[in-house]
C-alpha cells in the first residue's frame, strides 16, 4: 500500500511537471500583452512597453521565464499583473467564496442523482423514466445561462427580492441571523442551477449503470432471499453499479477552480471561476498559471483518491 502510494505520487509529480511546462508554453503561444500594457494608448511610448516587459520578465528567454515564474509561485512572491496583488492571497479569498457554492452544488448533485436514476431504472420505460429523461435532456442541451436568466427574472418579478452577489447589497448592518439567512438565500439559486445540469447528467449515468446490474443473478438472489426492495436496490445493486462513479467523483475536485464561470458571472459571484476567466481576458499570466497549477494538482489528487476508493470498494482490485 505505502509502496503504491510512493510510486503513484512519483508518477504524478512527473505528470505535474509536464503539465506546468505545457501550460506555460501554451499560455505564451497565445498572443497578447498583460492588461497593464495598452498597445494603442498614445501615452504608452515604446520605451514604456519595453520597461513593462522587462518588469514582467517578458524579455527573457522562455526557459528562464519558466524558472522565474515557478520560483516566485513556490516562494509566494508572484503577483498579479493586473493589480500587483499577491496571487495566492487573491486566490485564497476567492476560494473561500467559491467553496460554499461548490459544496452545496456537489452535495445536491451527488445525493439527488442516485434516487432519481435508480427510480428511473426500476420503472424503465414508465412515466417517471420518460419524464426525467425529458427534463434531463432539456437541462443538458440548453445552455446554463439561459436558465439562469429565466430563473432570475422569475424570482425577481414574483418575489421582488435581490438575488445577485453573495449577499444583499447594503445589508451589512442587519442582525447576524438576518445576514446569515441572506447569504443562504443568495447561495440558493446559483447552487441549484449549478447542480441542475450535474443531476441531469449523473442521474442518466446512474440509470444506465443500474440497468446493467439490476438483472444480475445476485440481485435476483437478494430478492429471492426476501429482502426488502429498498435494501436490494440501494445495497446489493447500487454498490456494484457504483464503481464507475468513483472515477467521476475523483474528478469533481478540479470543478472547484473552473466549475461555474458562467453562473458566477451572471450572479456576480466573486468566485474562482470568474477570476480565472477575467485573468485570461487580461492576460494575467501569473493568475492563470497558478490556477492552472492548482487545477492540475486537484486532478492528480482526485485520481489518486479514486484509485484508493476503488481499492476500498472493489475487493478484486489490489493496489501494488
Amino acid at each position: 500500500m505505502t509502496e503504491f502510494l510512493i510510486r503513484s505520487l512519483r508518477r504524478k509529480l512527473f505528470t505535474l511537471f509536464l503539465v506546468t511546462v505545457v501550460s506555460f508554453l501554451i499560455i505564451h503561444l497565445a498572443p497578447g500583452e498583460p492588461a497593464q500594457v495598452d498597445p494603442l494608448n498614445p501615452k504608452f511610448t515604446p520605451e514604456m512597453v519595453e520597461r513593462f516587459r522587462r518588469a514582467f520578465h517578458l524579455d527573457r528567454p522562455l526557459p528562464v521565464q519558466y524558472v522565474l515564474f515557478y520560483r516566485d509561485l513556490f516562494t509566494g512572491r508572484s503577483v498579479s499583473w493586473k493589480d500587483n496583488q499577491p496571487v495566492l492571497e487573491k486566490i485564497g479569498e476567492r476560494f473561500l467564496n467559491s467553496l460554499p457554492l461548490f459544496a452545496v452544488g456537489t452535495l445536491l448533485t451527488w445525493t439527488l442523482a442516485f434516487p432519481l436514476g435508480i427510480h428511473a431504472a426500476v420503472r424503465r420505460g414508465g412515466f417517471f423514466d420518460r419524464g426525467t429523461a425529458f427534463f434531463a435532456y432539456v437541462l443538458i442541451s440548453l445552455p446554463g445561462f439561459f436558465f439562469a436568466y429565466l430563473l432570475i427574472l422569475l424570482v425577481v418579478n414574483t418575489l421582488a427580492v435581490p438575488v445577485l452577489g453573495m449577499q444583499t447589497y447594503g445589508f451589512e448592518n442587519a442582525p447576524a441571523l438576518h445576514r446569515l439567512n441572506d447569504r443562504l438565500w443568495h447561495l440558493l439559486l446559483p447552487a441549484l442551477l449549478g447542480s441542475a445540469t450535474g443531476i441531469a447528467v449523473l442521474s442518466r449515468y446512474v440509470r444506465s449503470q443500474m440497468l446493467e446490474v439490476i438483472h444480475q443473478d445476485y440481485v435476483r438472489t437478494a430478492r429471492a432471499k426476501g429482502l426488502p426492495e429498498e435494501t436490494v436496490l440501494y445495497k446489493h445493486a447500487l454498490r456494484n453499479a457504483l464503481l464507475p462513479f468513483l472515477t467521476m467523483f475523483g474528478l469533481i475536485l478540479p470543478g472547484l477552480v473552473g466549475g461555474s464561470v458562467i453562473i458566477e458571472s451572471i450572479f456576480s459571484w466573486p468566485g474562482l471561476g470568474r477570476m480565472a476567466y477575467e485573468a485570461i481576458l487580461a492576460r494575467d499570466y501569473p493568475v492563470i498559471l497558478t490556477l492552472n497549477f492548482i487545477a492540475a494538482v486537484l486532478v492528480l489528487l482526485g485520481t489518486l483518491l479514486s484509485d484508493l476508493l476503488y481499492a476500498a470498494a472493489d475487493p478484486r482490485i489490489r493496489l501494488a
Binding site: A30, P31, G32, E33, A35, D38, P39, L40, N41, P42, K43, F44, T45, P46, M48, R51, F52, A55, K82, D83, N84, E93, V104, L107, L108, T111, L112, F114, P115, I152, L153, V156, L159, A160, V161, P162, L164, G165, T168, Y169, G170, F171, A174, N181, D182, L184, W185, L188, A191, L192, E230, L233, Y234, K235, S265, I266, S268, P270, R274, M275
Partner: protein, 700 residues
C-alpha cells in the same frame, strides 16, 4: 434502510434550509424605498472591477472613475472643457528663454553685454520694428546675463558607452517673458540679424574625454549646449487650508512628490510621457509650486489634472516602514507594491472606505472637501459583470447608474420614472488605409473610396441612429473640431469619376483595372466587435459596386494588433480612436510616428500637417491653438488618409428623482439635471441629490 433516506432527505433538508432564507431577505421595496439611507447613496454599476486605485499607476477606465472622486488635481476642466483651477487657486504661465551669443568682436562676454544692451534699448524704443516683433520685444520682462561656468557631465554616446564631457559654458542671455512665445527667436532675429542664433558653435565649447567623429561631436554638443532654449514656467498657487482625507495638510511638497513618483522608473507609471518634459519643480513657499519645463510642451498644463498623491504615505520613509511591517524586502518595495493602491487617500470629494474585490468599492463623502461636501453621503461602485442583470438591478432600484445600451434606453423612453441623457462620445470610427501601399498612395483613390461608403446608412442600420458623422481627427464637441469641414457625401458617381481620373477603368469583367492590374485589396478588422463586422460587410458591398475587388477578414484582437497593425501588414482596416480633450495629435498623425509599433500605422505624413502638429504642441494660447487645430483638421480632411465614419453616442439613464440641489444661504432649490454644452451630464455630480418623491418642475 438509511441510504435512500439519506440520499433523498439530505438534499431536501439542505434545500429547505436554503429556501426558508427567502423570508429573511429584504425585498427591493424595503431596500429601495423604505430605507431613507438609500436616498443618500449613489450606486454605480460596472462590468469590471478597478485594478489599481492610484492615479499615477492605473490605466483602466474603472479605476479612473473612482480616482476621479477620491483624488483631486491642481486643475480640471470646466463645462466648456476649458481648464480651471481646482487645488490650484490660480496659475500663471510664463517663460524663461535662453540663448547663447556667438563669439563676436572682443569675445563672447563683450558680445553678451552688447546684445543685452541692444535688446534693452529696442524694448524701450521699439519704433520701426514690424508689429509682431514689437509685441515679442514688449513681452520681455527681464534681460539678464548668466556668467560663464565650467561643467562636467556624464552621458552615454550613440553606441551606449559612457562618456565624460567637459563643457565650458559661455555666458548666456536669459530672458524672462510674461507669456510663452514659441516664435520669440524668429522675431528676435529681426533685431539681432538674420541667422544670428545659428552662428553660435556649441562644439567649440566642448571637450570629450576621447576623440569623437566631427558629426557625433556636433550632435552631442548641440544637445548639451542648445543655442536657444525655451523653458516654459507654470506657477501654481495652491488654495490655503487643503487637507487629505486623513487630515494631513496638502502642500506644494505633495505636488512635487507626485511628479517625482510619476518619473520614478521603478513605478512604471503610464503617465510618464506627460511629465517627462518637466525640468524641475521649485517650491518658493509651501503653497506655491513652480514647474519649469525643458521645452515648449503645451499639453503640459492639462497633465496637472492628475490627482495629487499624499507624500507622507508614499515617500521613501513611509514605504520602508510598510515594507518592514509586512515582512517584505524594502529594496524591492515601491509605490506599485504599496497597500495604498488598495486603500487610497486623496483630497477629492469622496474618501475611500472599503474595497471588496469584484464586489464593490465604497466611498464616503469628505466633510473637509474644499468646495463643500457633496450632497450624496456615500458613493458605491458595484461590480456586476453581466449587462442584463445590471439592467434588472437598475429597475429594482438597487443601482442608480449603469452602462445602459441604446436599445435598453428605447425600452424606457416613455417611462416617467426615468430621465435619460445622450451625447457624442470622445471616440470615432474610421477606415484606415496603408498609405505606403498602392493604390492608397493616391489621394484620389482614397477620396473615391470614401465617397462610396454609405455612412448614413451604416449609422441608421448598424447603430440604430446612435452616432454622428465626423469629418476629422478631433472630438466633435471640443472647440478644436472644425465645423466648416463637411463630411464626405455619399456619391458613388463622383467616386467613379475620381477613380477614372486616377487611371482606374472598368475592365472586361466590370472590375476596375489600371495598367493591367486590378484594384484589389483586403479590408480587415478585429473579431468580437459586431458593429465593425457589419461595417466591413456594408463597405465591401459598396466598393464592389464601384468595381473594386475587396476581400474582408476578421482577426482576433491580440493577433490583429501584433501581427497586422504593429507590423504595418494590412491594406485597409476598420478601427476606432478614443480621444482625450487635449488636442495633441503627435502620436497618431505625425510623420515621425510611422514605424512599426507606433501609432501612425497608416503612414500619414504631410509637411504642413507635421508643422501644425508641432506648433499645436507649442502653443500655450488657447485661442491660437484652436485656430491651428482647425487648420490641421482641414488639412487632414483634404488628404483623406482615412475615411472618417462616425462618432458614436453614449447613453445614460437615471431615476427622475435625482436632481441638482442648489444652496444659496439658507434657501434650498432643486433643478433638473441638464447636460453641459459639451454633453457632460455628470458635471454637477457633487450637487446631485435623490429626493423621496418625484419632483415636478415648472418648466417641464
Amino acid at each position: 434502510m438509511g441510504t435512500r433516506r439519506i440520499l433523498i432527505g439530505l438534499p431536501l433538508a439542505v434545500s429547505a434550509l436554503l429556501l426558508q432564507s427567502v423570508f429573511w431577505v429584504p425585498t427591493y421595496e424595503e431596500q429601495a424605498r423604505g430605507n431613507p439611507a438609500r436616498l443618500e447613496e449613489f450606486i454605480q454599476a460596472s462590468i469590471g472591477d478597478a485594478a489599481v486605485l492610484n492615479p499615477i499607476l492605473s490605466s483602466d477606465a474603472a479605476s479612473a472613475e473612482i480616482e476621479q472622486l477620491v483624488f483631486e488635481g491642481l486643475l480640471d476642466r470646466d463645462e466648456h472643457l476649458r481648464l480651471r483651477g481646482k487645488l490650484a487657486e490660480s496659475w500663471s504661465v510664463r517663460e524663461e528663454a535662453f540663448f547663447h551669443v556667438p563669439a563676436g568682436q572682443g569675445g563672447q562676454a563683450n558680445e553678451a553685454v552688447r546684445v543685452a544692451a541692444l535688446l534693452r534699448e529696442r524694448r524701450a524704443r521699439p519704433e520701426g520694428l514690424p508689429p509682431a516683433v514689437q509685441a515679442a520685444v514688449a513681452n520681455i520682462e527681464e534681460i539678464a546675463i548668466e556668467p560663464p561656468r565650467r561643467e562636467t557631465r556624464e552621458i552615454t554616446d550613440a553606441s551606449g558607452q559612457p562618456l565624460r564631457l567637459h563643457l565650458s559654458v559661455p555666458p548666456r542671455i536669459r530672458l524672462l517673458l510674461a507669456r510663452v512665445d514659441p516664435e520669440l527667436f524668429a522675431h528676435l532675429e529681426a533685431v539681432l540679424g538674420e541667422g544670428y542664433f545659428l552662428r553660435f558653435r556649441p562644439e567649440e565649447h566642448l571637450e570629450a574625454e576621447r576623440p569623437l567623429p566631427e558629426e557625433e561631436k556636433r550632435r552631442i554638443a548641440g544637445e548639451a549646449l542648445p543655442p536657444v532654449e525655451h523653458n516654459p514656467v507654470i506657477e501654481f498657487r495652491l488654495r490655503p487650508g487643503l487637507t487629505f482625507h486623513d487630515g494631513r495638510p496638502l502642500t506644494a511638497e505633495d505636488v512635487r512628490f507626485t511628479w517625482q513618483a510619476v518619473m520614478d522608473p521603478r513605478n512604471l507609471s503610464p503617465r510618464a510621457s506627460d511629465f517627462e518634459p518637466v525640468k524641475e519643480v521649485r517650491l518658493p513657499d509651501p503653497l506655491t509650486a513652480v514647474v519649469v519645463y525643458k521645452r515648449l510642451h503645451a499639453p503640459a498644463l492639462a497633465s496637472w489634472t492628475l490627482g495629487i498623491l499624499p507624500r507622507h504615505l508614499l515617500d521613501e520613509t513611509a514605504l520602508r516602514a510598510e515594507a518592514i511591517a509586512s515582512g517584505k524586502d524594502p529594496a524591492a518595495f515601491g509605490i506599485r507594491q504599496s497597500r495604498f493602491n488598495r486603500r487610497p487617500v486623496g483630497c477629492g470629494p469622496f474618501a475611500f472606505r472599503e474595497w471588496k474585490s469584484d464586489r464593490h468599492i465604497r466611498l464616503e463623502r469628505f466633510a473637509g472637501y474644499f468646495e463643500g461636501p457633496p450632497e450624496y453621503r456615500r458613493f458605491s461602485f458595484r461590480v456586476i459583470p453581466d449587462l442584463l442583470t445590471q439592467e434588472m438591478e437598475f429597475y429594482a432600484g438597487t443601482i442608480d447608474a449603469y452602462a445602459v445600451q441604446p436599445h435598453q434606453v428605447a425600452r424606457l423612453a416613455g417611462d416617467p420614472r426615468f430621465q435619460h441623457f445622450s451625447g457624442t462620445s470622445f471616440a470615432y470610427t474610421y477606415i484606415g488605409y496603408n498609405l505606403r501601399r498602392p493604390p492608397f498612395d493616391d489621394p484620389r483613390v482614397r477620396r473615391a473610396l470614401g465617397l462610396a461608403v454609405p455612412v448614413d446608412r451604416i449609422i441608421e442600420a448598424v447603430l440604430y441612429g446612435q452616432a454622428e458623422r465626423t469629418s476629422g481627427p478631433f472630438p466633435r464637441q471640443t472647440p478644436f473640431y472644425n465645423p466648416e469641414v463637411e463630411p464626405l457625401p455619399h456619391d458613388p458617381e463622383a467616386a467613379r469619376r475620381l477613380l477614372e481620373e486616377a487611371g482606374w477603368r472598368p475592365g472586361p469583367e466590370g472590375l476596375l483595372e489600371k495598367d493591367g492590374r486590378r484594384l484589389r485589396f483586403t479590408l480587415i478588422t478585429n473579431s468580437g466587435n459586431d458593429v465593425r463586422k457589419s461595417i466591413l460587410t456594408i463597405v465591401q458591398d459598396a466598393w464592389k459596386r464601384l468595381g473594386v475587388e475587396v476581400r474582408t477578414d476578421l482577426v482576433e484582437w491580440a493577433v490583429f494588433i501584433r501581427e497586422r497593425i504593429h507590423r504595418l501588414d494590412f491594406d485597409a482596416v476598420v478601427l476606432g480612436w478614443s480621444m482625450g480633450v487635449e488636442p495633441d495629435l503627435h502620436p497618431i498623425w505625425h510623420s515621425s510616428q510611422t514605424g512599426p509599433h507606433q501609432l501612425n500605422f497608416i503612414g500619414y505624413g504631410h509637411p504642413e500637417a507635421d508643422a501644425l502638429i508641432t506648433r499645436i504642441r507649442e502653443e500655450y494660447d488657447p485661442e491660437r491653438q484652436i485656430a491651428l487645430c482647425r487648420k490641421l483638421h482641414a488639412r487632414i480632411a483634404a488628404d483623406q488618409p482615412v475615411t472618417f465614419l462616425y462618432a458614436g453616442r453614449w447613453t445614460a439613464v437615471l431615476d427622475r428623482r435625482i436632481v441638482i440641489r442648489e444652496r444659496r444661504g439658507d434657501e434650498i432649490r432643486h433643478r433638473p439635471i441638464e447636460p453641459t454644452a459639451t454633453g457632460n451630464y455628470r458635471y454637477h455630480f457633487n450637487r446631485w441629490v435623490k429626493l423621496a418623491e418625484r419632483p415636478v418642475f415648472a418648466v417641464e
